[in-house]
């Protein structure tokens, strides 16, 4: 075994790594509070976030934390391999019969062979693996139970390794997409996820590889699991389906309803076009209007007026500010009168390839810890020799609890009489 391997396997390295991680986690929690620009940390996978963040130098603590966790992981892997390498051969071997002698001696009125036979039968009935050996020194009964318990810490370690590997996979792969679903018969293609969706009443239909499947709309705490993808409910909202415009001239007043992309002829050669509808307008640099979010907080509709194939007027109509939503052209006075809303559903489509591994790791960890705490390894060694006067003399070594049970069962005494 090389010195480097011993270093990687050492418990001392694990303890120092654990203490270093504790300090790094403390620093990370303070950084999360006092450092700005970390609000979206945890949205996309960590690696994707690091690739896109503007604060790469400010998240030095994430690199340090990852390095510390990486070294900790290597130490756990090496310790687990080394420990299993040393423990498993011992587990597979039969119980040892060469225990050191003990001072705990008891007497039985029965003969040595009878005591040995009964002890063997009893220990087997208690689930002990038992070996009986006759030698010049007397009859030896060696029994043990729960040898596999010795690997319970390694089960917990394997769980922790799987959990950390799951976190690593989740941080480096997968995606999270937010989508708005409308009540419509049209399929909504989501190329990143390789599927199409449509919302039909209280159901959501998913089409992937020409096969479609219908599920109930996901609810909070009840996502849809579909071919490695998870579809989550994130909220409901209303989305603008169409707008109602009031068109006034000197002689008449009329109301028209337009959907995005539709047009209406005001008079021969002059037409009104309903363009893009954006959910949450903001005015950027150069007075450009774009959307700040996907939520319908502050919708705006783009209206253009085409006069004989020439763009005559172009204006944004703001739903929340009808006074500013007015367009005048020649005899026409056009105002936004109303909007028609349609219910929509917000969903997240998530692929998280590390989640399953992390879950199995977590279960192994809890299982290993439970087994380690509640289980145990018991072994007992009994040397039975002929007593000086009559009966037999029993010398015990091993689990106190098992020795006490045997003593009570055989009514052994520390007195030869």
């Amino acid at each position: 075994m090389t010195r480097f391997w011993r270093f990687l396997c050492s418990l001392r390295l694990g303890v120092w790594c654990g203490l270093a991680l504790t300090v790094l986690l403390l620093v990370a929690s303070l950084q999360l509070i006092y450092q700005s620009g970390l609000d979206d940390l945890g949205g996309p996978p960590l690696l994707e976030w690091l690739n896109n963040t503007q604060h790469l130098s400010g998240v030095w603590w994430i690199w340090l934390l990852s390095g510390g966790a990486g070294l900790f992981l290597i130490n756990i892997i090496c310790c687990t391999i080394e420990s299993l390498r040393q423990t498993i051969p011992g587990i597979l071997r039969p119980p040892k019969t060469d225990f050191p002698p003990s001072s705990k001696n008891f007497y039985s009125a029965l003969s040595t062979t009878e005591v040995a036979r009964q002890t063997e039968r009893l220990s087997r009935s208690w689930g002990f693996r038992t070996i009986l050996r006759v030698s010049d020194a007397g009859i030896t009964v060696a029994a043990d139970k729960g040898r596999w318990w010795l690997i319970s810490p390694q089960i917990a370690h394997v769980g922790l390794i799987m959990l950390l590997c799951g976190l690593l996979v989740s941080a480096t792969s997968g995606f999270k997409l937010r989508q708005i679903m409308l009540q419509t018969n049209n399929w909504q293609l989501i190329p990143e996820a390789g599927l199409s969706l449509r919302l039909l009443g209280n159901d959501i239909e998913i089409k992937q590889n020409s096969k479609s499947k219908t599920y109930s709309i996901p609810k909070l705490n009840q996502p849809i699991f579909h071919n490695g993808l998870c579809i989550y409910y994130t909220g409901e909202d209303q989305q603008i389906k169409s707008i109602e415009l009031e068109i006034k001239t000197n002689s008449e007043r009329k109301l028209i309803r337009l959907e995005s992309g539709q047009e209406h002829e005001l008079e021969p050669g002059v037409k009104l076009v309903c363009g893009e509808i954006i959910p949450d307008f903001r005015i950027g640099s150069g007075s450009d209007v774009d959307s700040a979010s996907a939520y319908y907080r502050n919708p705006a509709v783009h209206i253009s007026l085409i006069d004989h194939n020439r763009l005559a007027e172009s204006k944004w109509f703001f739903v929340n500010y009808p006074n500013f939503s007015r367009l005048r052209y020649q005899a026409f006075d056009i105002t936004l009168n109303n909007v028609k809303w349609s219910p929509s559903l917000y969903i997240d489509i998530v692929r998280n390839p590390g989640a399953g591994l992390a879950l199995i790791g977590g279960l192994f960890l809890v299982l290993g810890l439970t087994w380690n705490l509640l289980g145990g390894f018991k072994q007992v060694y009994i040397l039975i020799t002929k007593a000086e006067q009559k009966g037999s003399l029993l010398a015990f070594r091993g689990s106190t609890e098992t020795i006490t049970r045997l003593r009570k069962k055989f009514q052994l005494s520390q007195n030869p009489n």
């Binding site: 945890g42 999270k176 879950l359 977590g362 705490l373």
Partner: protein, 148 residues
Amino acid sequence: MAAFFILVAATVPKGIRPLPEGLDTIWFEIHVASAFIAYALFALAASECICNPSSMFGFRLTAGGILVFSASMLAGGIWAYLAWADYWIWTPKELWSVLIWVYYATVLHAAKLPGWRKLAPKMIILGFLLVMFTYLGVGLLMQSSHPL
């Protein structure tokens, strides 16, 4: 301490309100209940280490605390994954929960090292202070996904 918290509880409004939808799941109940059991075990371990530093019982209580705390974190992770598509969120509460888990695991391992055995009971007592800060301090002083 119990009397103090009973008095505090007496001042809290007692009207029964339905749970917010996000909390209406068995994973939330397991997560919270097991976290409090783990905190109680860590408190008992610290008390044992104060009263009887040479006893092994404090270590067994700490091991029990880590087991229950692991189950709590696992339930919390499952709940978060089912509700918000993430089993790990970068918030101070999550970081402090991992911090106390790593800390106690380190203490239990350190107790097997020569030279550290005598230090371990003191580390268990310090661990309980970290637990108390995770329980109360993080929720009150830091913005987090957990109110407490």
